[in-house]
Amino acid sequence: MPEYSSSNPPLPRLQIEGVSKRFGPTVALDGVSLEVAAGEVHALIGENGAGKSTLMKVLSGAHRPDAGRLTLDGQPFEPSDPLHARNCGVAMIYQELNLAPDLSVEENILLGREPATLGWIRRAERRRLAKRALEEIGQSQMPLDAPIRSLTIAQQQLVEIARALVGEPRVLIMDEPTSSLTQVDAENLFGVIERMSRRGVSVIYISHFLEECQRVAGRYTVLRDGQSVGTGAMLEASLEQIIQLMVGRKIDEIYPRTSRTAGEPVLELSGVAGLAKPSCVNLTLRSGEILGVFGLVGAGRTETLRAVFGLDRLVKGRVSVFSREATRSTPAKRLANGVGLLSENRKEEGLLLNRSVADNLTLTRFGSVSRFGLVSDAAQAAASGEWLVKLDVKASGADQLVGELSGGNQQKIAIGRLLHHNARILLLDEPTRGIDVGSKAQIYRLMNELAGQGKAVVFVSSYLPELLGVCDRIGVMCRGEFSCVRPVAEWSEQEIILTAVGQAELGEAAA
């Protein structure tokens, strides 16, 4: 049963009492209770599958609860559909942004709520409303006429928030809002959230990043297996306590580290430049080490990996793989040389979502599961079955479609493909983005194991604690080149951010 905090405000803005929801035999929510005061930022924490998204869908009117009560400012709140919920003052910002990419900022902010007379849009009025919404979140410098397509992800998200504000929401639900933001953009977003909170808007903040929840939220509720297992003031709880609540067991070590020594250089880049980015990358990766790469979005981390892997054009510089010069290359040749790339976009690029687990795992090495030139279903299933066990993937079998798996399990399949390929140099681009804590811990353990076997891992991430926890060395990228590569012991979190940001400001001053 949930514990109630003793310091409840007299009339909560939103009250959720004993909400349950079943889908057939699956119990998604099992008596969840939650209270949010006016102007409070409330973190909703839980692993994937804990019921967060179902609860949000109940709040936004997409699902009707089987039992329980929702109260909004003392009034019963029974949303029949998302539009109804919005009109009642409960707005939702989804993880995947819902903007029309070709329409302008102004048009998007008022989309579906255009001020109009007899079907004619009152443009001046629309402009005024859009401006006011942007001002409210301190973004008056946003270009109103720019098409959404031309904005960064962070800017797009702010537009989405402005759009939600037009409806004068009482409760704003944000689902993983920082999953594709850099630290700086995230800081900016936290400022916006604080502003809204001061205006009396209650915010329910869903995130995997616990540090973020601590930073932004006043109180938290942890969901596990469809139940609210703990709630309280953020300040009074330690990260370890919350993680323990989330996974229901003690995590001794999220970041395992066995002793290992780096060996021979396996990948050497000198002066590598792509079309726009990177501009000049020099780097040496050794066997048996994990090299972390940090940088802001736009620093050229992904572009570097893509150019090295032969996906994008490499304009200048030299690449050696296993001490052999191999600058010009294609993904096929890189794979043949034992280099594997994990894409940062597992849905858009990393996986064949409507193909089976088996096909996805064996895609780069169909030869290993073929007999007489024909791909053998049995051999494929056997090979995949081993990986499913080894990587602890929750799937009904090798023939399940990858698109049906949860984010963490999908990511394990994408990594599993590199393992089945037996790649000796692994370029991992944001391998833990948007997946649950349990899966993250498994991926850290796996990386540790791979480095212990003498494989070389490049680990690109925007999340500093994991870089500091897992890597042997960390390099910080800024403006298309590595500013600095040092052993992890010589870095502090602050120094890394300063290197990533400070350099950028210096660069601007010089220009």
């Binding site: 057939g24 993904p331 096929a332 894409s343 690029e349 096909d359 895609l363 030139g373 791909v375």
Partner: protein, 335 residues
Amino acid sequence: MNWAKLGSSGFLKAIRPFVGLFVVLLLFAMDGELRSVIFKGGNFKTILTQTVIVAIGAMGMTMVIVSGGIDLSAGSVVALCSVVTARLIEQGHGFAGVLALTVLIGGLVGLANGGIITTVRMMPFIVTLGMMGIARGISKWLANNQTVNPEQPLESVNRLMDNSQSPLTFFPLPNGVWLALGLAVVMAVVLRSTVFGRYVFAIGSNEDTARLCGIRVNFNKVVIYALAGAFFGLAGVMQFSRLTQGDPSVAIGLELQIIAAVVIGGASLSGGAGSIPGSVIGAFMMACLANGSSIKDWPNYMQEIIIGVVIILAVGMDKVEPFIQRLFKRQSSSN
């Protein structure tokens, strides 16, 4: 056999064309007049013969559609190749020469399609729409804008689609039917089980992933369009054989029939799904409907309406099936 798998959506989807065909035949069997005619061996032979052209075209088109593309030039290429067949026979080529050269010409048109699509990075829809006009134009040019009737017919080619020997019995089937069946088996294996076939699915499912995984996407696409062109070329030979003349204005709109067969067979126009057996069944189902309609003496427009409805039903099942599954689930959970 794992019984749980029988209820999976993948299995339901795979057997859908067969179920559809069964339903069509069942409906035919309920009508006395149809029943007495349609299931006769001779008539079944006619249906099979009428299936051949669309079925062979559908084998090529299935590859293209599974890879996420489309080929609108199919009908024009069939017409072009029927004229090419006629011209080759006029020049005195033998059976093997006619067959090989015509298929080659079809393959070259496909090669051009694939080449333009990959090197200039244009939409397959636009490129093959252009090629549809070009191939049609060339076929009229080659035929001097009239039908081409070789003075000395080549019996072996004419017999491919000739079902007039012993019209009342099922056997012997025309050679074209055997050829189509054999190709269907081979292509089913190629698309399902060879590495090339898996690559076709991978490219159609997600081109970026395919590239990431070292698949030579452009090269494979060129191969796919060229192979598809070769199949349309072979369908052109069959088209010639059916009319025993090269006709530059034949097979107008055939590409849409072929696409319909592929879609009825379970392929997705967004790529990554489809099968050769499904497409061939789709072609067969359309021939059955046409045959049934003509037996009932329904006017042509009725056939067109019926086939249109079938296409929508076949693809609509995608949306209906989850709904039905949910209904079942709700029922089983309330019990």
